[in-house]
């Protein structure tokens, strides 16, 4: 069994995260239309709901995983010099990790 995210796994990650993001966005929009929060405290209270918090956290995890696989594929396709490719992948990984930390901080502060 392969342990790295290559080939079939990467392909699967991209499809599963896409389906999850689509469902999340549809539910999010449905909520925004049916029961829109009219003030910041109402919005905050809705997001504080642990189910919504977890679903939002998973959404951003899916988004970042999806972006990692997708952009990595573009880099593998077009950037052939190894040094440049490693630099770009590191940059991408660092950027996505920073975004993950930022999302976690926001969700954490909401509850803290």
């Amino acid at each position: 069994m392969r342990t790295t995210v290559t080939g079939l796994r990467a392909w699967l990650v991209q499809r599963v995260t896409a389906v999850y993001m689509l469902l999340f966005i549809l539910l999010f929009l449905a909520h925004a239309i049916v029961d829109p929060p009219h003030s910041y405290p109402a919005w905050r209270a809705w997001l504080m709901n642990s189910g919504v918090s977890i679903a939002t956290g998973v959404f951003f995890a899916a988004l970042l995983a999806h972006a990692w696989v997708g952009v990595r594929d573009v880099i593998i396709d077009y950037v052939h010099p190894v040094a440049l490719r490693v630099c770009l992948l590191a940059l991408l990984g660092f950027g996505l990790a920073a975004m993950a930390a930022w999302v976690m901080r926001i969700l954490w502060m909401l509850h803290g």
């Binding site: 290559t6 080939g7 079939l8 392909w11 593998i76 396709d77 077009y78």
Partner: protein, 246 residues
């Protein structure tokens, strides 16, 4: 009829160029290959191309016709926009005029082990197959390896040495679904890396240009499902209508 044909003779020309030809056709000149041979016969006998069966079976006269890959011998002449622009298969190294180097293409083809792997004792007569098992090969065994698909596939353009390409992959599928083959799992494992199969971005140029109406993109999708061990449809694949080149 007017033609603009890619010319390059490495012994004489510094750079490739397009050469214009105007040729009077005979009523019997129905396919593009007839016209090319007419040009070779009456205008310039140094024009170089591959051809053999002249009926879409051998796959040797694949070329880029008005921007689309196809077989000159089965491309109706009168529907073509003038001047008819003929170029060698895109992305393949040119040897001379319309003749390209297919070494890389066949290297990828051989890498998928295009033969039955079966170590069981050979039966006295043959390895029988039920009509249903035989039907599974429909839509993939018809590939004539003309390279129209691989040469028009952007994923093959970027990584021709690592991505097997649509022609190799539809051949791989043909052996994966063959009931007489015993190496199915090895074949799937061999393709499960970042390059060999998964460079495919489902652009589907391969299916669009296949002169035999095959669908390499569907074969690739089915290989992915087999890797996932999803019981998808693995019956024969239907042929599609080949859109005429204009």
């Amino acid at each position: 009829m007017r033609f603009s044909i890619f010319r390059y003779n490495p012994e004489r020309d510094e750079k490739p160029y397009m050469q214009a030809f105007e040729v009077d056709l005979e009523p019997t000149d129905r396919m593009l290959l007839d016209a090319i041979l007419r040009i070779k016969d009456t205008r310039d006998d140094s024009l170089t191309l591959r051809k053999s069966c002249r009926e879409g079976v051998c796959g040797s006269d694949a070329m880029n016709i008005n921007g689309r890959n196809g077989l000159a011998c089965v491309t109706p002449l009168r529907e073509l926009r003038e001047p008819v622009e003929l170029r060698p298969l895109p992305s393949f190294p040119v040897i001379r005029d319309l003749v390209v180097d297919m070494t890389q293409f066949f290297k990828q083809y051989h890498s998928i082990k295009p033969y039955l792997v079966n170590d069981e004792d050979p039966p006295e007569k043959e390895r029988p197959q039920s009509p249903q098992e035989r039907d599974k090969l429909d839509g993939s065994y018809e590939c004539i390896l003309c390279a129209c698909c691989t040469s028009q596939c952007p994923s093959s353009w970027w990584n021709p040495d690592k991505f097997v390409g649509p022609a190799g992959l539809i051949q791989a599928y043909r052996f994966i679904v063959d009931s007489r083959d015993r190496a199915t799992q090895e074949r799937l494992d061999d393709l499960n890396d970042p390059y060999r199969l998964f460079r495919c971005r489902t652009i589907m140029n391969c299916t669009e240009v296949c002169p035999k109406g095959l669908s390499p993109s569907r074969a690739i999708e089915r290989i992915r499902l087999k890797m996932l061990k999803v019981d998808g449809d693995d019956g024969g694949m239907e042929l599609h209508r080949v859109p005429p080149i204009r």
